[in-house]
């Protein structure tokens, strides 16, 4: 479980996140939704420590993560897997080397054990016969899946996904969403997904928080989101004409 208490963050005097408090539950796919520029990515990066917060607290279970220094954070970071918006695969390494990297860095497994783990993770995300390819040779969906394989290589307790299906076609996007949900349940991870894709919200949103202009406006699940009385959230959820028509029909 990850708990965020009264988190605030500014850049050059401009407040990007204002007094956010939320609990992300274990074994569930937790979604942070909001419009572009609302502060979703800053919140996600603040939780994992890529941005130092101005005030507030971030707890990973019983550990106050936000007060730890770089060295002390290492232990928790080895339990974190993260999928970046652009996949962030290492260009100079092959698919296999990318997935093996955290194993090389943080385990004392034998080369055979590492190979087995790499192949297991790649099979788990349905990547076959691509071990020797470089990221530049992969499609967008494959890159995301390899990035997921790398993220789960060390059996993480926490999985963070920043816009996992941005730039993907709707079918591949649904496959990626389904994979994230499956892995979350399978490994009982605390998963946090940043998205502004309503398809994702309706597919995997077990717990959802809505952020607007750096402020948490709403919290609930995918069943509740359609009946909210938060006008900003309704504008976001029913932004496209199809959704508007469905709402009108209902």
């Amino acid at each position: 479980m990850i708990t965020v208490k009264n988190l605030s963050k500014s850049f050059n005097g401009k407040k990007v996140l204002d007094d956010i408090s939320v609990t992300f539950e274990t074994g569930k796919t937790n979604l942070i939704i909001g419009m572009s520029g609302s502060g979703k990515t800053v919140l996600l990066k603040s939780i994992v420590g890529l941005h130092e917060i101005d005030s507030g607290e971030i707890w990973f279970e019983d550990t106050l993560f936000s007060e730890l220094n770089f060295t002390d954070r290492k232990e928790i970071r080895t339990e974190i897997g993260m999928l970046f918006q652009g996949s962030a695969l290492f260009d100079s390494k092959t698919v296999e080397q990318n997935v093996r990297f955290p194993l090389d860095m943080f385990t004392n497994k034998t080369p055979k054990e590492k190979n087995e783990r790499v192949n297991f993770c790649l099979n788990r995300v349905n990547i076959v016969k691509a071990n020797k390819l470089f990221p530049a040779e992969l499609s967008g969906g494959m890159k995301k899946r390899v990035a997921i394989a790398r993220a789960i290589a060390l059996n993480p307790k926490y999985l963070f996904c920043d816009e996992p299906n941005s730039g993907l076609d709707p079918i591949t996007a649904i496959l990626i969403d389904a994979l994230i949900k499956e892995l979350t349940e399978e490994y009982s991870m605390t998963t946090i997904v940043n998205t502004h894709d309503m398809n994702s919200v309706m597919e995997i949103g077990e717990k959802i928080i809505f952020i607007s202009n750096g402020v948490k406006c709403w919290e609930g699940n995918k069943d509740e989101i359609l009946h909210s009385d938060c006008s900003t959230l309704n504008d976001f959820v029913f932004a496209n004409s199809l959704a508007k028509k469905l709402k009108a029909a209902k």
Binding site: M82, D104, M105
Partner: protein, 247 residues
């Protein structure tokens, strides 16, 4: 002025991060071997080509500017040797490497920054500055002296070939010239300068790339800054080291 001091402070804090204790020595060793090939071995060709032609030009220019019976012919060989050892092999080669290796390092690390690859390393708990940059610094410190020696040998050979083929000096006179009043310390001086320049090129370029903020345009700008700042610092340290080592 405040911006300059901030940047200097940031640079030294960056170096502290770079020289932190490595996470896993075997991985750093492999990275260093890779960088020895990419930054060192792959630079040997350009250094050899430029050294060859510089040696040739120095010989021909010295010959045409000393067409006086008072000057013994072997001075051409001596001039070629000292110019190559004292300045070309270390300073001019460093300026060339600032362009080739410096821009390469800066753009590689800058691209990793804007594509979140550095963030991915940090998330895993890897000290990204140390993992990416320390092997590059070690590799250039190890291999740039070799490049300097290659520059000296090929440069003097280029001078000999140009001099003898063009007929401005005989082979015997040139060889006598390069042996005349030889001071071995000049080689040491050149190698010491090379070590300083290698550190400047790698650390300044990596610093520029590591703190890129933005997109491809900023990566390009960082690359340009890396070459300009490295070159200025090389020239500045050339004066300081020459005064300290030869005075």
């Amino acid at each position: 002025m405040i911006h300059f001091l901030t940047q200097v402070g940031r640079y030294f804090m960056f170096l502290r991060k770079v020289f932190a204790k490595p996470e896993k020595h075997s991985i750093y060793y492999r990275q260093t071997m890779r960088e020895l090939v990419y930054l060192g071995l792959y630079s040997a060709g350009i250094i050899a080509i430029i050294a060859f032609f510089m040696g040739a030009v120095i010989t021909l220019q010295t010959a045409y500017n000393t067409q006086n019976p008072i000057y013994p012919k072997y001075l051409i060989g001596l001039g070629c040797r000292d110019s190559i050892i004292l300045e070309f092999s270390s300073t001019v080669a460093a300026l060339i490497l600032a362009g080739k290796v410096g821009s390469n390092i800066s753009s590689e690390i800058g691209t990793m920054r804007v594509t979140e690859q550095i963030d991915a390393l940090e998330i895993m708990g890897v000290n990204s500055a140390s993992y990416l940059i320390l092997p590059k610094i070690i590799a250039t410190l190890l291999f740039n002296p070799v490049l300097t020696l290659i520059g000296i040998i090929v440069g003097i050979f280029g001078g000999w070939l140009a001099g003898t083929v063009s007929g401005v000096i005989t082979s015997e006179n040139f060889i006598y010239g390069i042996q005349y009043a030889f001071t071995p310390y000049y080689i040491v001086y050149s190698l010491i300068k090379t070590l300083f320049f290698a550190f400047i090129i790698t650390s300044i370029s990596a610093f520029q790339g590591y703190y890129v903020d933005g997109g491809s345009l900023e990566v390009g700008r960082a690359s340009t800054k890396a070459v300009v700042y490295s070159s200025i610092l090389i020239l500045l340290f050339n004066v300081i080291l020459t005064q300290l080592l030869l005075s």
